[in-house]
Symmetry: C2
């Protein structure tokens, strides 16, 4: 397998000040897989769902070329479910319900072909599970990208620090970078986090874009100012999928290659926000991504 994505495949129910989604498919690995598979073949997913998960979505993923050998389906059980409500700013949100269901005791077993993957995306999950995945890898991937969140900094800091020490790239938001490092300045925060292991730190700022730090260098990726944000759920996962998918496609793990990946990830994430759930990602072409990538480059063009 070229690119393995570990994370949730689940149900979401989303309310925004402008509408509600009803119960729809979501999950970090879903967004990462749908995003990365637009850019490169050979994407496999490691996750677990219950019997209630729609066959049509699994069929759609296979059709997109996503390998599901690493996806456990537990008979008689229910998929992970999350419900949330966005505030008027469409940035912060409240969790209304979390039903772990199949995630309780989730202990992924990587299929043989996944243990020698070239690119590994550890989507947001319990860092103990992320470490358990890394323990099964038999050949150092070319690039390991980690996504995490403040919840794990509060609950499992030691386990999280261990997984951070084992990856090449970490993606977190600005508040999380400050929490993890204890530094207010994002320049200092990124430097401290790089000293924990990763050679690249990506700070996601939602509608304000993203920062990529590497050694003494920094790259600022703008966000595209959007007419309408329908639903930001999955934007961070789509971004991560686009980032690692682009690097898997080009093989360029240099600062320049990662900068390009950040722009492609930003472009795909901007599409994700245009519809509820995975709807826009399901109907997205590589030409549309390329057109939007150019729009991103034009946004910052001075002359």
């Amino acid at each position: 397998m070229k690119l393995v994505a570990v994370g949730t495949v689940a149900f979401d129910e989303i309310e925004t000040p402008f509408g509600s989604s009803g119960k729809i498919v979501g999950g970090a690995a879903t967004y990462i897989g749908l995003s990365a598979s637009l850019l490169t073949p050979g994407v496999g997913i490691v996750s677990v769902v219950g019997q209630d998960f729609p066959q049509e979505m699994l069929g759609f993923m296979r059709q997109r070329g996503i390998d599901l050998k690493g996806l456990e389906i537990l008979e008689g059980e229910k998929s992970f479910f999350w419900a949330g409500r966005y505030h008027y700013d469409m940035n912060s949100r409240d969790t209304l319900a979390t039903e772990l269901n199949v995630l309780i005791g989730f202990n992924p077993k990587l299929p043989e072909a996944y243990r020698r993957c070239e690119y590994l995306m550890l989507g947001n999950l319990d860092p103990a599970v992320q470490n358990a995945v890394l323990d099964q890898i038999t050949q150092r991937p070319k690039l390991v990208v980690l996504d995490t969140m403040n919840f794990w900094m509060d609950q499992s800091l030691n386990e999280l620090l261990r997984v951070i020490s084992r990856v090449d790239v970490i993606t977190i938001n600005d508040a999380e970078a400050r929490q993890l490092s204890g530094e207010h300045s994002l320049v200092k925060a990124a430097r401290k986090i790089m000293a924990m292991g990763p050679s690249y730190v990506v700070i996601k700022k939602g509608e304000h874009g993203a920062l990529l730090f590497h050694a003494g260098q920094v790259f600022v990726a703008p966000a595209l100012p959007l007419e309408d944000v329908v639903d930001p759920t999955g934007a961070g996962d789509s971004f991560a999928g686009g980032l690692i998918g682009h690097v898997a496609k080009t093989g360029d793990r240099s600062f320049r290659g990662l900068k390009q990946g950040v722009v492609v990830g930003s472009a795909i994430a901007s599409f994700t926000c245009e519809r509820f759930g995975t709807k826009r990602l399901e109907n997205l072409s590589i030409d549309e991504i390329e057109t939007r990538r150019k729009e991103f480059e034009n946004l910052v063009e001075v002359s």
Copy 2:
């Protein structure tokens, strides 16, 4: 006079989580004047101070080439004073004291040479005063830039709307753009505000950079990620002074010219944040601005 800046010349007392300034010189017109005069000769200030205002600062401004014919000095009175405390995020702040003093009843009289200025910067002030300044202008300036804030939206909306209808460029922050337009999307907000009069809308986002809207186009200016922010007071005024100062220098009022102005303004504002008050602006060279302008362009360079 080539460029006239209207605004406060005052005292500030600033506390941050990392230090305090004591009583120092501040005020919108001070920052605008110090910033713009780095870029172009022929800058004049319209403001009012009390007898307590330090002669050394007035001397320094004159030395910088700033014309002070429009600065009233009221004997026996005290200058405007503002005290504030920044939160840990160095972005939001609480006002601890506001002493209007000489600002009460301030009714600026423009010297004859100011009434035919080529560039006019209306710094943040009561919109009634901004309108009174426009009423004294005898020849339409090439560019009028307006800065304002949420306080005037709450207190004097009609007067504010009148001044907005009379200017070419407005600079406000993202929350203010949303409040003024009633739109959450900044694209829609900017469109509504352009319909109120200005052909350019600049949305300032502090550490997240700035957006410039014009007709159907948008430009995203990054902010330079800083090691340390000592004091953001005056950053918005330094930005505005750099913006109009650059346009006054080049004479280029096209979208391209304004984009360059936004980058130059961002560069100067980033210096302002490095020290308390006007300290860094007082010791800033055009070479330093040019070097930083290039850093800003490199920040967004993908390849």
